[in-house]
């Protein structure tokens, strides 16, 4: 059941021979993208979340073959030239990381959230709802929500000076 898929991972083109029975999480990890964690395996913990064409999915419940032709983003690609992404930096600043197992998945959901809602005023409730597909057993979530709020702030200000 071997097939070939061609995708981009963090902007780099890849061609992989995969078994159709493999999850995307398995294929990514096998190829060195070990920020992708398999936690629950049933779509509850979100530790394996990656962006497929800028939409978050749980890669452990997603066949690798479905990523053929898609643009995949993992936490590895978020820092550029040794600089953390704004979301990663905000996680650091607000103490949103403890053991770190959930962090790469959460960072991807926060990245999607921040890119999608740029310039909008968002409620904490909305942040919580759109991060509900992740389980973090260390932080109590408060730091994570503050990190997302920190990312949203400059855009809100930017918008108000515009208008």
């Amino acid at each position: 059941m071997i097939r070939t898929i061609s995708s981009t991972v963090n902007s780099k083109p890849v061609t992989w021979r995969i078994d159709v029975r493999m999850s995307l999480a398995e294929v990514l990890r096998t190829n060195g993208f070990t920020s992708v964690k398999e936690g629950c395996g049933v779509g509850e913990c979100g530790a394996c979340a990656v962006l497929i064409d800028d939409v978050t999915v749980d890669s452990c419940l997603f066949l690798a073959i479905w990523a053929d032709g898609c643009n995949i983003r993992t936490a590895e690609g978020e820092s550029r030239g040794g600089e953390l992404s704004e979301v990663q930096q905000a996680y650091l600043d607000s103490g949103a990381v403890q053991c770190g197992f959930c962090t790469p998945g959460l960072v991807m959901s926060s990245t999607e959230f921040v890119e999608k809602h740029r310039g909008e005023k968002v409620s904490r409730e909305k942040i919580r709802k759109e991060h509900a597909g992740h389980i973090c057993r260390c932080t109590g979530y408060e730091g994570i929500i503050r990190a997302v709020e920190q990312c949203m702030k400059p855009y809100e200000k930017h918008k108000s000076t515009d208008s």
Binding site: M1, D19, V20, R21, M22, S23, E26, G41, V42, G43, E44, G46, A49, V55, T56, V57, D58, L61, F62, L63, I65, W66, S109, R128, K129, E130, H131, A132, G133, H134
Partner: protein, 291 residues
Amino acid sequence: MFDINSYHKANSVDEAIALLSQNPDAIPMAGGTDILVRLHGHNKKFSHLVDIHNVIELQNVTIENDGTIVIGSGMTFTGLAHSSVIRENIPVLNEGGSSVGGPQVRNVATVGGNICNGAPSGDSASPLLVLNATVELKGPDGVRHLPLYEFYQGPGQVDRKDGEIMTCLRIAPGDYKGWSAYYYKYAMREAMDIATIGCAAACKVENGKIAGLRLGFTVAGPTPLRCWRTEEKASGMGANEELLDMVENSVLSDLRPRDSWRAAKDFREQIIKTLAKRVLREALKRNTEME
């Protein structure tokens, strides 16, 4: 690696039907968020697959000239939430759909899968029941239509015959125009949980009297259920407290909740009665706002 025994990828509905006909043990898989979980558990029932993940023709919502809303079975719950046709005409479907799993699951999981897996708890089921949705199935012998409440046959069992694909769910204009509806999911947690009880109510009020009332429940029986007796009793009654009391006292006669490790039967009954009243009150309130 998932415990898949045979795998065929379809690029169109016709190809999927042909593949399903050639592989009688195979089942269609769209989003995979239920089936892949079963395969993690080595469940042999799901090990022969026809992959319809990329069948684009199943992934749209349209509205026909007569006002019939046609929901492609491959629409994800996120897709439904973004659809203006759904948001403007039948928002109750999104009240159910937005409570499915978490965001990553809703980005992939489809409404057709939610119905076809036959779960008594499917969050889209009770909104679709009170919208009187019709299921469209296409198979080697052609197309057939049947009401959603007949499609459900038992826990995990639906009337999808060999070689058939659910292509869409159809909602007739007379089943949503002039109606208002509301859905509430009672669960132990506010997110990422299976409903303890899900309840949808739809109503149509004319001159202060009930011209139509529908109640749909999940996890209140072996399949999602309508409340036929209560609905009939409500017909012609005034849209008032007396109606709400009648519904509260009658609704259990239509349902068959049971004990499970998630919740006890008597607890479910209490929730059913409370929700019937509360959800209908909200649906009635929306009907007044519409006028």
